[in-house]
């Protein structure tokens, strides 16, 4: 649109030929029912009171039509104090009322929902696309975060499992090393020396080895005076005086009782094999009494060994 065009819009150029109403042939009445008086159309025309005295040129028929439209026009004139009430004025009124109406409506529509209601279709599609991609991004975020959560959780579980495993191993090793008391099914083996032959350290060691070979897991030996020694890998047996016994540095006197935890049937069989511990001690004149125990307790402890030179290889 060119720059000079805007001066035309809404501005009445009275001399312009286009919008001027054709008045028709001279003398002939205007065919339009409510044709305005040509004088009224010109804003520059002096404001004359037209309605009370219509010009004599207009025919009677036209006068009737004008009279029919007069109440509304006169009402308008009353309201606005406007003397010239041509149909164009009424039209202006209607148009401006419509403008106000739509203006308010549009403002209200835009203010209630500024995003979606005023947007056209492609904008809505774009908004939808944006929201979709945003949702996708957020879903990826969620997946990543869930993944890391799972990893952390499994790491924690792994740590916990390793901790439990380590504790279990520590318990096992503690039982094997004699630093923890133990309880379980097993045997109580009593060595009672006979009149002549005492129970030598060799016999006791034989019995201990036999029990170890048949799956003993924890053992202790106690003498007659209640001294109890836990038997571990490094425990040694020495003959003492008068049939007494040095076990791991402690002096024990007979009769001796070995409490052992393991499979009772296997250990009993191992002790009773021909030429085994029971037979040998019997041959020496002593007696071996083997009793099953539902719950045997190995409660004697061995002081933990402080390793001075050996270091674990990790």
């Amino acid at each position: 649109m060119s720059g000079d065009e805007h001066t035309e819009t809404g501005t009445g150029w009275p001399k312009q030929p286009g919008p001027q109403p054709p008045t028709g042939p001279a003398g002939e009445p205007d065919p339009r029912p409510d044709a305005p008086d040509p004088d009224e159309l010109s804003p520059l025309a002096p404001e004359v009171e037209v309605d009370p005295e219509p010009p004599p040129a207009t025919a009677g028929e036209s006068r009737l039509d004008r009279a029919a439209g007069r109440p509304f026009a006169s009402a308008l004139a009353l309201v606005g104090g406007w003397r010239r009430t041509s149909p164009a004025t009424v039209m202006i009124f209607v148009l401006l009322a419509l403008l106000g109406f739509t203006l308010v409506e549009q403002l209200r529509t835009t203010s209630t929902d500024p995003i979606t209601s005023a947007a056209r279709q492609e904008d809505l599609v774009r908004i939808l696309y944006d929201l979709n991609s945003q949702e996708k991004r957020l879903r990826q975020d969620i997946a990543a975060l869930e993944d890391s959560q799972r990893q952390l959780l499994s790491g924690e579980q792994g740590q916990q499992a390793a901790l439990e495993e380590a504790a279990r191993r520590a318990d096992e090793l503690g039982i094997l090393a004699g630093t923890l008391p133990a309880r379980g099914p097993g045997l109580v083996v009593r060595f009672e020396p006979g009149g002549a032959g005492a129970i030598s350290a060799m016999r006791v060691l034989d019995a201990v080895q036999e029990l170890r070979g048949s799956g003993a897991e924890a053992m202790q030996i106690s003498g007659a005076d209640g001294v109890t020694v836990r038997i571990i890998a490094s425990t040694y047996f020495l003959d003492g005086e008068n049939g007494s016994l040095f076990v791991g540095g402690r002096l024990l006197t007979g009769p001796y009782t070995i409490t052992v935890i393991g499979d009772p049937a296997t250990m009993r069989t191992a002790l009773n094999i021909p030429g085994g511990v029971v037979a040998t001690v019997d041959g020496d004149g002593g007696t071996v009494i083997v009793e099953d125990r539902e719950v045997a307790e190995v409660s004697a402890l061995h002081a933990p060994i402080e390793l001075e030179y050996a270091r674990p290889i990790t």
Binding site: T9, G10, T11, P43, G80, G81, S86, T89, L95, G100
Partner: protein, 110 residues
């Protein structure tokens, strides 16, 4: 005078009735309102220039609104509706600015 009255009457009517804009008209209403505003400012300017003409105002008002809506409609059909409506709003805004400048010169001599 009567124009301001009509505007106020229309606004009150809109506030009172509170109709909903039908979906088919929603893209065109804002453009039509802007075009009508342009026509109104042109009319005020013409009034101040003492060259106001009722009929021409009515015709220009209606044609402005219709052409603006038509341009947007055609733009929508061609798939460039948003760009074209932006263009229409820009052009009408320039015209409104020009008219308001003329009115300002009339009223304040500046």
């Amino acid at each position: 005078m009567i124009a301001a009255l009509a505007l106020v009457a229309g606004m009150l009517l809109g506030l009172w009735l509170d109709p909903t804009v039908p979906g088919a008209l929603q893209p065109y209403l804002p453009i039509a309102v802007v075009a009508a505003l342009d026509a109104v400012f042109g009319g005020v300017r013409a009034k101040l220039d003492r060259i106001f003409d009722d009929k021409q105002f009515v015709v220009s008002f209606i044609s402005n609104v219709l052409v603006a809506a038509l341009i947007v409609y055609v733009g929508d059909q061609l798939g460039v509706g948003s760009q074209l409506s932006t263009g229409v709003v820009v052009v009408l805004g320039v015209r409104i600015f020009g008219n308001v400048a003329a009115i300002r010169r009339h009223l304040f001599r500046a």
